[in-house]
């Protein structure tokens, strides 16, 4: 004889991933580094932006990249060429990185270097505007990219990604003269779903807007790592 019972779990559906993400974040805390999760649709310019940004900030920040890619290591090769330590994470058919994959990447990174020497760890996610928004990997901040060629409606069509982002970069603004799209409208739609996001308009090709983005990165990284040290001291 069986009696019907009910237990209340009240757990997040993603609890298993969140536990692993929390574990990754503990490592980042111990290493005193800032971890950024960079997300966008395929071809929005994540790798191009990282190439110029890492090159520009290399004199001031120690950095490494965990590079998510579905099948190839092409992006990892591009980034290794600018002289930054890169760990490729091939996700196979998965359309996003999850916390366990990043944990595996961290172990590989530790085989290459001592992560405590780093100031900033980039996680370049798989190109996708949907799934990565729900899979935290232990990052401190989410950075979303939207290229002007994607149109001004994307923040409204993929609102969760842009809502979750702490910083949104509108990329490829050098192409604006050739497009029937108003960058103000893109920014307006980003702010409609996320009024608190820090928004930059940039072009990795022309260099437009990069200075402000780099200054923000520098000050955000330094502020975060200084606070982490203070928290440790008590």
């Amino acid at each position: 004889m069986h009696m019907p019972l009910q237990d209340t779990l009240g757990l997040n559906l993603m609890a298993a991933n969140q536990h692993q993400a929390e574990h990754n974040r503990e490592h980042f805390g111990a290493w005193n580094l800032l971890c950024l999760n960079v997300m966008s649709s395929p071809g929005a310019g994540k790798t191009s932006l990282l190439e110029v940004t890492i090159t520009a900030l290399a004199p001031q920040l120690e950095m490494a990249v965990l590079e998510g890619d579905m099948t190839t290591q092409l992006d990892a090769q591009r980034l290794a060429a600018v002289g930054v330590p890169v760990v490729p994470i091939t996700t196979g058919r998965a359309c996003h990185l999850d916390a366990a994959m990043v944990s595996g990447g961290l172990r590989q990174l530790q085989a290459q270097l001592n992560p405590a020497t780093l100031d900033l760890l980039w996680v370049e996610n798989v190109g996708n505007l949907v799934c990565p928004a729900e899979f935290e990997v232990g990052e401190h901040l989410k950075v979303a990219l939207l290229s002007v060629t994607e149109g001004d409606d994307k923040p409204l069509k993929y609102p969760v990604m842009f809502r979750e982002a702490d910083c949104v970069l509108i990329t490829k603004v050098d192409l604006l003269p050739h497009l029937p799209v108003a960058v103000e409208r893109i920014e307006e739609h980003i702010r409609a779903v996320n009024p608190e996001a820090v928004v930059f308009q940039v072009s990795a090709t022309s260099g437009a807007g990069l200075e402000a983005w780099h200054q923000w990165l520098l000050s955000t990284t330094r502020e975060h790592n200084r606070r982490a040290v203070l928290a440790e001291v008590g």
């Binding site: 019907p4 237990d7 009240g10 997040n12 298993a16 949907v130 809502r163 996320n194 009024p195």
Partner: protein
């Protein structure tokens, strides 16, 4: 199809819950979820992947019951709770403010599990509700 990975997360949590009932194995009838409209989860895809994943496991026969939660936001100018409309850029109809405070719609929650245990075990084995 990220619902596959979400199902894996769900199964890990259920596995942990099951361990709380050892040495008995609960027979799960239904798992109740709350899924907000402002998430990247497609309830139908989640039901499909769950049904496929539990076949031949201790959860075989369990169904996934999903309650969807509508997106609601509070206008910070006048405190009105409204249903954000993508066609209106999610802005508040009362004061034309951007979507600031989300009141509901981001839920991804495992609420309850309906199950049974052999009669001699059920008297003592139910976990206290949280």
């Amino acid at each position: 199809m990220h619902e596959v990975d979400m199902t894996k997360c769900l199964l890990l949590s259920l596995q942990e819950w099951k361990q709380g009932h050892e040495p008995h194995t609960p027979v799960v009838e239904a798992v109740h979820l709350q899924v907000g409209d402002f998430t990247c989860v497609e309830p139908e895809a989640l039901r499909f992947t769950f049904a496929a994943a539990v076949q031949g496991t201790w959860l075989d026969g369990a169904t996934l019951q999903i309650d969807t939660v509508p997106l609601r936001a509070r206008c910070l100018a006048c405190s009105t709770v409204y249903a954000p409309d993508p066609e209106q850029a999610y802005r508040s109809p009362c004061c034309d403010r951007p979507m600031e405070e989300i009141v509901s719609g981001r839920e991804l929650r495992i609420r309850t599990v309906d199950y049974s245990l052999p009669a001699q075990a059920s008297a003592s084995a139910a976990l206290p509700s949280r």
